[in-house]
């Protein structure tokens, strides 16, 4: 097998790519998908260390992360649909109504 550091490095790279996606994109749906990418990187770390320490707790945590991600996507997409109805756009530049 391979050193345990390899999947961790892959997870770091994927997390940073998701972070860049959140920072540079303006489409709210793409931002949600970048969040998914970051969740996925965290899951990869959980699975890797579950393997390394031969302990199933990490895998159980991944299940919880998946549930939370599913709930987050459901609510996030509902919000996006609602915002699109109101503003006819899902660019996050348009979402400044709450600005003081």
């Amino acid at each position: 097998m391979f050193p345990v550091i390899f999947p961790i490095i892959l997870a770091v790279i994927l997390f940073c790519l998701g972070f860049v996606g959140v920072l540079v994109r303006k489409n709210a749906i793409v931002i949600l998908m970048s969040l998914e990418l970051m969740f996925n990187a965290a899951n990869l770390v959980f699975i890797t260390f579950a393997n390394y320490y031969q302990n199933l707790d990490g895998q159980v945590f991944v299940i919880f992360v998946m549930v939370t991600a599913a709930a987050e996507v459901a609510v996030g997409l509902a919000l996006i649909v609602d915002i699109f109805r109101a503003k006819k756009s899902i660019s996050i530049d348009e979402m400044h109504s709450l600005k003081g």
């Binding site: 391979f2 990418l37 649909v81």
Partner: protein, 172 residues
């Protein structure tokens, strides 16, 4: 080079390339499809790391249910080409630079901590068996498991309430 390492490197390159393509693609539908490709390659990495149940849940829940929901909303809103010209002239290079710095930092810290000696282990029957995963989930983590049911219920109700059409006389 062992077969496991070879497969891992190929999958890692696919995953990173798909993530980059997702961020760069102008069309939202392509972005979603690239993200599905990323999820699939990560799922195979889970298989290599001895987590078959999680790998299949990843394909069914993430690549299946969640991304279908995202694609459905993209099609529903018809916004796949609507991405406006993004006037981010100096933010983009800066974001890439800072992300590279973050990657270097993270990799450095982790290599210092774990080094290259610690190797991932081949699949262990105790760990691979979904039965044991279920036992841990329902015994040790039974309370968090119950709480996730509340999260899902609240998310479902919240999604319904948010997308409801506004009533004229006061309702939500």
């Amino acid at each position: 080079m062992t077969p496991g390492l070879l497969i891992f490197i190929i999958l890692g390159i696919i995953a990173v390339a798909a993530a980059v393509a997702m961020i760069l693609s102008r069309n939202t539908v392509y972005a979603a499809l690239f993200l599905i490709l990323n999820f699939l390659s990560i799922a195979v990495i889970y298989l290599i790391l001895g987590a078959p149940f999680i790998a299949l849940a990843q394909i069914a829940v993430y690549a299946g249910a969640i991304m279908v929901l995202v694609l459905f909303v993209i099609m529903l809103l018809g916004t796949h080409q609507l991405d406006p010209r993004e006037p981010l002239k100096w933010q983009r290079p800066l974001a890439i630079l800072l992300a590279l710095a973050l990657i270097v930092q993270g990799v450095y810290a982790l290599v210092m901590r774990y080094g290259f000696k610690a190797t991932a282990l081949a699949a262990n029957p105790e760990l691979v068996d979904p039965k044991n995963l279920g036992l841990v989930l329902y015994q040790k983590f039974s309370l968090p498991f119950e709480i996730t049911s509340v999260i899902l219920l609240v998310a479902a109700i919240g999604a319904v309430v948010l997308t409801q059409k506004e009533k004229k006389d006061g309702g939500i």
